[in-house]
């Protein structure tokens, strides 16, 4: 098993090397096969691991408490070995890890297959570069979830940040795209600072970074330490998973190719923050203050992003803000102590968000690159598979039963209700907004009359099989994926996911009565259905939006980017130019050049000594003799 497990990340890494180094010589078909094949192989191995997970770990008792059992840790080599600090390169394969492995490799594989068709028009070497980066990303993400300590997690963390930068700026000749890539990386890095500080704090207080050792040491840490560590870890998660205030990079990241947006910015990389907090649930449960902050930030982000999505006209931007909003939901769940709900939502979100992004890619492909929904419309007749799968995705994200989104969102809201009614209220409003803007997107894009150019009208066609098959697979998953987490009130023993994760992630205690739970479910569903109907009434036949003040506020993303620009970017730039022009040029250069000028001056003055007059030379000799004489007899003791 040990040898099998390290193949999971190794195969995509080999794919990265082969595709990266051979990008100029390998054919596009071969590159696509290698790229997708390695991820498929990793998926198969992950499946084997998942099915045999019980042989690795003893199952926990049905109480749902987390007993800190020794999970299967695979030690490969000593990574860092300084006197008292040992950081081994080990993988920890438990239920949480294996679930994420399936999501990453499974959805990843589908997106690789999709990319072979979507990126078809690229030149050969750029096609190879794309798949190399994509494989490198899968490798880093796998390292992230498989690591047995915070350092391996951080290596993967950095790796996915790097790949995000590389892939957002994939079409590097466009300066706006490269700026977006830079923005993503820099904001990520700010979060990473928090993460690093947290790791240092952990090392100082517990002497180790391994999960089992740190979690055992929770009892020894003071409340201050716990709050500090968990807050700093959350700062890292906020950067990676696009929460307030570090979320503005995600919409700009839509500059990358659509499959990239699907994989990185919907299904996997942005969920790394949630994984990390779910993994550290023992730390977080011991620091209730941080949990509160996490929940508040999550709820606020969810609401903010949902309002912005109401008024976006770029199909990918709507989905991007939707992602930020759904991530807010996940953090709300984490903050409410409903860790399983958060992981559940990660899973269902991966399915339907990837589906929605790939569907939008299919639409963009058919519309010859047009991304503005105001110039689409009436596509449902011409792109049946895309339309149906997109529709299913919208149903899932809106939380209509019995689709997957309903179960996971419900679990999230239940957790929120038990924790704080106000946050639950925000979550409910956001659910309504989610349903509204998603169906707005669906109706404007697929219903009504076609608003594009004649040329586009002729070109519109359903996408090839390599693109539609992943759509179909993801649609099926979006429909049935929720049945692993059917709440107890509906079907006894339906909480399969919670049971599965229980050794690692504690299930939330049932603090509400069955009646309340059913009422909440009904309320959420009713709200969602009303929102869908409202969107149907308003957007069935597309009309221009009325320009209201609130509408403009939403459309301009609450002017947050402008705020950051004024408060942070410009002062930093001014500081930089100050350092460059004044400190560097007038300070340091003046000093260095000054030394040179001094030497020059000294040389010029000394030159006068060489007069060529023999007489002066003799005089100097005599004077030196006298001085030596004086030194010899009168100065020396």
């Amino acid at each position: 098993m040990k040898n099998l497990i390290f193949l999971i990340p190794l195969l995509p890494f080999i794919g990265f090397l082969v595709n990266g180094l051979g990008r100029k010589s390998l054919s596009k078909g071969l590159v696509g096969v290698i790229g997708s094949g390695t991820v498929l192989a990793s998926f198969i191995i992950s499946l084997i691991v998942f099915l045999r997970i019980d042989h690795l770990i003893e199952p926990a008792a049905a109480t749902g408490n987390v007993r800190i059992l020794p999970p299967y840790i695979f030690h490969y080599f000593d990574f860092i070995n300084i006197s008292s600090l040992k950081i081994p390169f080990s993988f920890q394969i438990d239920q949480l890890t294996s679930l994420f492995l399936l999501i990453i490799t499974g959805v990843g594989f589908l997106i690789h297959v999709y990319s072979t068709a979507y990126m078809h028009e690229e030149k050969r070497e750029h096609f190879g570069r794309y798949f190399a980066y994509l494989n490198l990303f899968v490798f880093s993400m796998l390292l992230l979830v498989m690591g047995a300590n915070y350092v391996i997690l951080f290596i993967g963390w950095e790796g996915v940040g790097l790949c995000s930068y590389l892939l957002i700026g994939y079409w590097f000749k466009n300066i706006d795209y490269t700026k977006a890539a830079k923005k993503a990386f820099v904001m990520n890095r700010i979060g990473d600072l928090g993460f690093l500080l947290a790791i240092f704090w952990i090392i100082t207080k517990t002497g180790s970074v391994g999960y089992d050792e740190v979690f055992h040491a929770v009892g020894r840490l003071s409340q201050q330490d716990l709050i500090g560590i968990t807050l700093l870890l959350f700062v890292g998660a906020a950067g990676k998973s696009a929460q307030i205030p570090l979320y503005t990079w995600l919409p700009d990241a839509m500059a990358g190719p659509t499959p990239v947006s699907a994989l990185i910015h919907a299904a996997t990389m942005v969920t790394a923050g949630i994984y990390m907090i779910a993994r550290s649930n023992i730390l977080y449960s011991a620091a209730p203050l941080t949990l509160n902050i996490v929940a508040i930030v999550g709820a606020a982000t969810a609401l903010l992003a949902a309002t912005i999505a109401l008024r976006q006209n770029d199909i990918k931007k709507v989905l991007a803000y939707s992602t930020v909003s759904q991530l807010g939901y996940m953090f709300l769940a984490l903050g409410s102590g409903a860790y399983v709900a958060a992981v559940f939502h990660v899973m269902t979100h991966a399915f339907f968000k990837a589906l929605l992004f790939l569907g939008s890619g299919s639409v963009i492909h058919a519309m010859s690159g047009q991304q503005d929904i105001r110039f689409m419309g009436g596509l449902r007749g011409k792109m049946k598979i895309t339309y149906i799968t997109f529709f299913l995705g919208c149903l899932a994200i809106a939380g209509i039963p019995p689709f997957s989104g309903f179960f996971s969102k419900d679990a999230v809201l239940l957790g929120a209700f038990a924790h704080n009614k106000v946050l639950w209220g925000i979550g409910l409003i956001t659910a309504a907004l989610t349903a509204f803007y998603m169906f707005r997107l669906l109706f404007i894009t697929f219903f009504g009359s076609f608003r594009g150019t004649e040329e586009q009208r002729h070109h519109v066609h359903e996408s090839p099989a390599a693109m539609t098959v992943p759509l179909i697979v993801l649609a099926i998953l979006s429909v049935v994926g929720g049945f692993v987490g059917v709440p107890d009130v509906i079907a006894h023993g339906g909480e399969k996911l919670a049971e599965f994760l229980s050794p690692v992630v504690p299930a939330s205690e049932h603090l509400v009565s069955k009646g309340t739970e059913l009422t909440l479910m009904g309320l959420t569903t009713a709200v969602a259905v009303i929102a869908v109907l409202a969107a149907w009434m308003r957007y069935r036949n597309y009309r221009e939006e009325k320009q209201t003040a609130l509408g403009r506020l939403f459309e301009n993303k609450w002017y947050v980017d402008e705020l950051y620009d004024a408060v942070i970017v410009r002062p930093v730039n001014r500081l930089g130019s100050f350092a460059g022009n004044i400190l560097e040029r007038k300070g340091i250069d003046a000093l260095v050049n000054g030394v040179g000028r001094l030497v020059n001056y000294g040389g010029r003055q000394l030159r006068w000594l060489q007069s060529g007059q023999v007489g002066s030379y003799v005089l100097l000799m005599v004077i030196s003799m006298v001085i030596l004489f004086l030194l010899q007899f009168f100065v020396r003791k």
């Binding site: 060489q610 007069s611 060529g612 007059q613 023999v614 007489g615 003799v618 005089l619 005599v622």
Partner: protein, 109 residues
């Protein structure tokens, strides 16, 4: 005679020699002044040698001979140096038709 008289005479001769070297323009006069300095030193050496001899003549018949020996060396050096120096002056005269030392500022370039 007290040794002081010899010392004063020697110093006087030496200083006259130095001033001559520094101030005179004629190369041959400068040489003569250098010789004057050397001879001043010789005088002093001989005077001290005699002083030491007188102080210890009873024990050692050859006391104070090192001073006089050294004088021989100095004379040899002086002779050698003069021959070389005069040769250079002759060459100098052949080139510039004068023995004025101030014409030698070609070293400036």
């Amino acid at each position: 005679m007290p040794i002081n008289y010899y010392i004063f005479l020697s110093i006087a001769l030496f200083v006259i020699g130095i001033i001559g070297v520094l101030t005179r323009r004629n190369a041959i006069i400068i040489f003569m002044c250098i010789e004057l300095m050397l001879n001043a030193v010789n005088l002093l050496l001989v005077a001290f040698s005699k002083m030491h001899h007188l102080a210890r003549a009873a024990q050692d018949a050859t006391a104070g001979s090192d001073g006089q020996l050294f004088v021989f060396f100095i004379m040899v050096v002086a002779a050698a140096e003069v021959s070389v120096g005069l040769a250079i002056i002759v060459m100098l005269y052949r080139n510039t038709h004068s023995v004025d030392v101030n014409f030698l500022n070609r070293l400036k370039h």
